[in-house]
Every structure is written in C-alpha cells, then in structure tokens.
C-alpha cells in the first residue's frame, strides 16, 4: 500500500497547477458558482463558454482533454490516476476539464467502437472539436430507461429516428447527440436498444429549452421527426446498446468534481473563521465546529472512493458498483455540503448573487437548489443503491 502520489504523479500535479495559474482567466474560480455534484449551475457552456474557448484549446493542445487515452487517438497516454489528479485540480479551481464527449462518449468508443469509428471520432474529440449531449431519458423513460420508445428504423445505409428525448443537458450548444434508440421493438426491452451518434444539425431535430430551478437554461426537450443518420454512426453492434450504455453510465458516474467539494468546503470554513457575530467568530461555536468537522470527514471518505476508481482503471478493472458507490456518496455529499453551508450562514444563506450583503457570491443558496439535481442525474440515489445491492451483493430481483 502506498497512499502517496508517485514522483511522476506529483510532478504532473504541479504541472497542472502551474497551467491553471497561468491560463485560467482572472477571477474565474471565485466568479463561477458551480456547485459540486449539481447539474443546474453549469452555466459556463453558454454564458461563459466563449470566455473559455482559448483555455479549452490550450488543454486540447496538451492532450489534457483526454489524458488517459492512447496518444494515437490524441490523448496524453497517461494513467487514470493522473487523469483523476487532473480533474481533481481542475474542479478545485472550477475550471472545465472535460465534457460528455471526452469523459463519456469517447471512453465508450475506445472500449466498444470499431477501428473505423475510433479513427473518425476520437481524434476530433481529443482536439475539443466536437461536443456531445446525452440523449438518454424520455418523458416516460427515466429511471426505467430500458422502456425508451424513440425508434430507429433501417432504410438502406441509414436509420430513421422518431421520438422525443428530455433533459438533454446542453443539447442546444452541442454538436452531436450521444443517443440510445430502439432498433428492435420485438425484442425484450433491453435487447433491442442501440447506441448511436446523431448530428444536431440533421433535418427534423427541434430543441426546446427547459429552465432549471437555478434559473439557467441547461436542460432541453428534443424532438426527432424522421431524422436520418448514417448506419456507421452506431456504436459497436446494433441492439447491443444497453450493454454499452451501462458502461457509459459507469464512466459518467466517475465524472466527479472532487476538488470542487474541497474548494467549496474551504470557502465555507474560511467564512466561519472570518465572520463574527457579537464579537465572536462563527468558528468558535461548538455546533458549527462539529458540523464542519463532520463535513471534512465525509469529504475525506469520498476522496478515497474517488482515487479507488482511478486506481482500478489503471489495473485494467472497470469500476461498476464502485462507480455507483462513488456517485452515491459524492452526490449525497453535495446535498450535505449545501445543508452545512446554509447552517453556517444562517439568514445570510438566503441571499442570492447580486445582493449587497451576499456572502460567497450566493454560491450557497445556488447550491441549495442545485444539489437536488445531483441525487437524480446519472441514475438516482435509489438506482445506485439498487445496483450496489443487486449487482454488487447479488441480492435477488424477485
């Protein structure tokens, strides 16, 4: 056992830190109100996205959008621990370090895509030239995703897609849908599904915004009306999509902004130390000390799950229930952090960004709202517990 970073890992960590210090626009970390674990305050895609274009280009040049990928596909050929170090540092500074294409679609293609598909997509993803959105959920297929109805029917070299997807985070500013469709309506629900990449510019796609409770446009309803997609865009084998999707979801559940938890927690600690009520710092209040200590402990626990998944990947193991545990633990942490943040701030926790008296730029009340999404997206907490119980412990379905 060795809980230290190796010399190489430590050097890489410093390199990432130096890069962030040099390249991240001034004031970015303080200004970005993204709440760790949440989906609703990822405003950078639209509002601040253009400001970050240069930063993303620089990441792509270094191969850092796809750190653990082989060099032949534009990656940096580094280990998964190094990739985890990168994401930990980036999220600590609230810098965007990856997206659906680099963290979910790309790795899945790397696992299951044909050579042709790898050559076509991976280098473009690594360069940051293409962005994906997740076209999974439908109005009647949420946690029960296998009941999805959006159909794809073969016609010559193409598939014709009809149906509706919902949530579709950042669909309106992405290039392609990373999508699951029903390709065999006669088979058992999870045996007739395919995974396919669909160009957002295709005829027949209509995107309608859904405002989230944080007041941002992150979600969308997306309608598909006779949308034609080349068959070569099917990932892996036709009708095997459910299996690939399970792995893609494992990759998604590994996308944890671990450093963001530490950062936000440190800011709340700092607030407790600096804020005085009746001449006494909040940090002297035993109840507040206890709450903050509890939070610190849970963050340490979560970090261990985080490093474990990366360590497993480096040993050639695919984290499965470990991904679910990580997702479950960190998203519930997201909610607890909001709860502790509001408890520390009391009345001030109600003040949103723009108020004269607002602490931490309204990060905490935004997090109070945003953390709701953490426990729902990428599989609810209940689904994660089902996975742990049934796949992990072998408990019976019936």
């Amino acid at each position: 056992m060795d809980f230290r970073f190796s010399e190489q890992e430590e050097a890489f960590r410093r390199e990432v830190e130096d890069f962030i210090n040099e390249e991240l626009p001034a004031g970015w970390t303080e200004g970005n109100i993204h709440w760790p674990g949440g989906y609703g305050t990822l405003e950078e895609f639209e509002v601040i996205g253009p400001r970050m274009a240069q930063f993303r280009r620089r990441l792509a040049e270094k191969g850092w959008l796809t750190i653990s990928w082989p060099k032949e596909y534009g990656g940096a050929g580094r280990s998964n621990i190094e990739q985890a170090i990168f994401h930990e540092r980036m999220s600590y500074y609230r810098a965007p370090g990856g997206d659906v294409a680099t963290l979910i679609g790309g790795p899945t293609i790397l696992h299951f895509g044909s050579d042709e598909m790898k050559k076509e997509w991976l280098p473009r993803i690594a360069k940051g030239d293409v962005t994906f959105w997740l076209a999974y959920s439908e109005p009647n297929a949420g946690s029960d995703l296998a009941s999805l109805q959006t159909s794809a029917v073969e016609e010559g070299d193409e598939l014709v897609i009809n149906g509706q997807k919902i949530w579709g985070t950042v669909a309106h500013v992405s290039d392609y849908a990373w999508m699951v469709v029903r390709t065999d309506p006669t088979a058992a629900p999870h045996k007739g599904i395919s995974l396919i990449i669909v160009d957002n510019k295709s005829d027949g796609i209509t995107i309608r915004p859904l405002m989230n409770i944080c007041g941002f446009h992150s979600f969308n309803e997306v309608f598909f009306d006779n949308v034609r997609v080349p068959k070569k865009n099917i990932v892996g084998e036709k009708n095997q999509g459910w299996y690939y999707l399970m792995v893609a979801l494992d990759f998604e559940r590994l996308v944890i902004p671990m450093g963001g938890f530490r950062r936000t927690f440190e800011e709340i600690v700092q607030y407790a130390r600096e804020t005085k009520h009746n001449g006494q710092a909040l940090s002297r209040d035993p109840l507040i000390r206890n709450k903050l200590a509890e939070m610190a402990i849970e963050i340490e626990v979560a970090y261990m799950f985080f490093w474990q998944t990366a360590w497993m990947l480096d040993r050639g193991l695919m984290p499965n229930i470990e991904a679910s545990v990580l997702k479950l633990v960190t998203t519930e942490l997201s909610q607890k952090l909001a709860s502790v943040g509001t408890a520390v701030m009391g009345h001030y926790a109600q003040l949103e960004r723009g108020s004269k008296w607002v602490p931490l730029r309204g990060r905490v009340p935004a997090g109070y709202l945003d953390c709701i999404s953490a426990l729902v997206g990428a599989g609810t907490s209940e689904i994660q517990r089902n996975i742990i119980a049934m796949r992990g412990l072998g408990l019976p379905r019936k």
Binding site: F3, F305, I321, E382, N386, I388, A389, G394
Partner: protein, 377 residues
C-alpha cells in the same frame, strides 16, 4: 499510489481468517464473553505459535519485524471473526509502547515475552473522568526511598484482570500545562496494593477498575522519561485508535455479510426479503459505510506505519468508522428482525462491540473536535 495489500498481507489475511474460523467459533466467543478471564489460554498459545504477538516486533526481540500496517490487517480479521482476549491490550497498548518508549533493558526483558505469548500487558490510562486528555490523569506517583509510590484509581482498563504488567500513566509533577509532569510506569500487576475489579460491560469485554493503594514501583520501571510521558501516551492513543478502527472495519464487514446472506434466504410474502428494495437499500448503505471506513482506516494506518504525521487522518478514521460501524450493525439488526434480538444469534455480538469500539479512544464527537482543530477552526 497503490491501494492494494501486498501478497504477504493477503496471505496473512487469509490464514488469519481460516485460523480464527476454525479455532474461535462463535460458541467459544460467547463462552469467553461470559467468563471472568475472557480469553482461552490454549488459543492464546496457538496464536503465539503463529507469531501473531510478535508480528510487529523487531526480530531482535523475538518478533518477525512486520509493519503496523501488517498488524492492522490482522486486527481487521480479529474484528471480523471476533476474537475475545488480551491481544489488543498486550500488543497494541503494551508491546508497541515498550517498543517506542522503553530502554534497551526493558525491551529485552519484556518484548520477547510478548512475542512468545508469555505475558499479558495493558495500558492503565483512563480514570473515573473517562477522558483521554492529560488533565484527567489524577493518579499520583511520588518518589520515595529510590522508588515511586502510586496512588489513584484507574477505570475502564482493558484486560487488567489477566494482565501481568500494567503500563500505568501517573502524575509525577504538577506542571504549568496538564501535559507536563506525566510519567508511565511498568507496574507488576501482582504488586501489593494493586486491586483489580472486573466491570460488567455491554460488550462483555474485560474492562476493569484498578485501585492503586500505596503501590511501590522500582525506578527502573519508568517507561520513557520522567515527567515527559504524555507524548508517548498520545502516540499510543493514536495507534490504538487506528487499531480499534481496523477491528471495527472487520466487524462491520462481517455484519454486512451476515445480513446479506440472511436477506437472500429469508422468505416472506413468497419472496426473499433481499428482493425488497427497502432491504436492498439498507444493504447498499452498509456497503458504502464498510468500504468508506476501510479506506480511511487503511490510509491512517499506512501513515502511522510510515511515520507520517497523521493526526487528521486518525481522527477522520476513528470518527467515521465508529459511527459507520454503529449504523451497519443497526441495519443488520433491522434485517434480521426478531431472531437477531436473541442471545443465540450472533448479530448482537457485533452490535455490542460497535458501541464499545465507538467509545474507546475517542468517540465521534471527540474526534470531530480534533478535526475542527486541524482545520484551523
């Protein structure tokens, strides 16, 4: 970073599990729990033959030169199976302390006897105030005629009923700070004036009251430096907290496995109760608690083993594992329902130990105060 155990550690784990399952069945655990001695001399001898007592002691003192991390692997298995007896007291509280603070003569005298299972040791620290701080050490040792005379009451002392020697923490001087003026003595438990009374405890572990009534101790029996014993105590407490975590992780793992296996076979409403989502989610919560505890415990153990400052890590591990073990055993009971509420069942053995483990060497509140301090609050 390497989060795995070494091959030798895996072997130690497997052999310990096999040995304890064979040699320490639950029937024996229950029998020992109800006995006054709380351990089986026969089993104790076999453990010594396996080299367990000397695992973490250097070869020159009859040990095999293992690391603290190796010891933690073994302790996890002891917690998994439940092993009543004075191993923890003798090795963690006694042996490691003598190794860390003893002079060469003391090491030569005591450690080989620890390694071959000849003597039982324990630490006599806590008093009726039941706290782990220096200010709570009221027991006095006064120098007189080339000896020390100890007077005071120690409480909650593990395995003192069978101990040959007590590492008694006493105040030799009133200093400016409570940490000054504390000395550790190696006291022969059979000295005149030592009166040991067994306490009846929830976990049936053998905790005792010890009254020191004018107990004479030779000067040579001072462990470490006179008046400067507190840092040694702190270092013992740190190792003890991690070691206790390791036992708790093992116990939590066993509780989880018992509950899951029962959930698979117990049928109600014509289906195994493990197919009900409520039960499944209890089990999933247990998994996250068990695995999380193991990670933070092993990280703390690794740091202690490597000699890296570990105050925060140990506090994190002890705070988390203490309460996680409690949650896991409570859910275990919930899954077992009424049958778990019987003496015949094994679940209560773990549930009882979860509370004892939580309290010993600082509970969640105590450790969170340390964490808050370390956070700079």
């Amino acid at each position: 970073m390497d989060l795995g155990l070494s091959e030798e550690q895996e072997m130690l784990r497997t052999s310990a599990r096999d040995f304890l399952q064979k040699e320490c069945p639950k029937q024996l655990v229950k029998q020992l729990d109800e006995s006054d001695e709380g351990y089986s001399p026969e089993l104790w001898r076999k453990m010594a033959e396996l080299g367990w007592m000397g695992l973490v002691l250097p070869e020159e003192y009859g040990g095999s030169g293992g690391s603290f991390l190796d010891l933690v692997v073994l302790l996890e298995e002891m917690g998994y199976n439940i092993l009543p007896g004075p191993f923890f007291s003798t090795v963690v509280l006694g042996g490691l302390s003598i190794l860390a603070a003893g002079n060469e003569e003391q090491k030569k005298e005591f450690l080989p006897k620890v390694a071959n299972g000849e003597i039982i040791l324990t630490l006599a620290l806590t008093e009726p105030s039941a706290k782990y701080d220096a200010a709570s050490v009221k027991t006095k040792a006064v120098a007189r005629n080339g000896e020390y005379v100890i007077n005071g009451t120690k409480l909650f002392i593990l395995d003192a009923n069978v101990a040959d020697y007590l590492l008694c923490v006493a105040r030799t001087k009133e200093g400016v700070k409570p940490e000054d003026g504390i000395t550790i003595f190696l006291v022969d438990a059979k000295s005149p004036g030592v009166k040991c009374t067994l306490l009846k405890t929830l976990a049936r572990d053998k905790q005792c009251e010890i009254i020191f009534d004018n107990v004479n101790v030779p000067k040579d029996n001072v462990l470490g430096e006179v008046d400067r014993g507190w840092p040694v105590v702190e270092s013992i407490l740190q190792k003890a907290a991690v070691a206790k975590c390791a036992e708790m992780v093992g116990g939590a793992q066993a509780s989880l496995e018992m509950a899951v296996s029962y959930a698979k076979e117990r049928v109600q409403f014509n289906r195994p109760i493990g197919s009900f989502q409520a039960i499944q989610h209890y089990c999933a919560n247990m998994v996250t608690d068990v695995d999380g505890s193991r990670f933070v415990t092993y990280r703390a153990a690794w740091k202690v083993s490597e000699g890296i400052p570990a105050t925060m890590d140990v506090a994190v591990a002890k705070a988390w594992t203490s309460e996680a073990y409690g949650r896991v055993t409570l859910l275990g009971h919930q899954i077992f329902g009424a049958i778990g509420f019987t003496m015949d069942h094994d679940m209560h053995l773990y549930y009882r130990r979860a509370k004892a483990g939580e309290i010993m060497f600082g509970d969640g509140d105590f450790q969170r105060a340390v964490v808050a301090q370390e956070l700079g609050l």
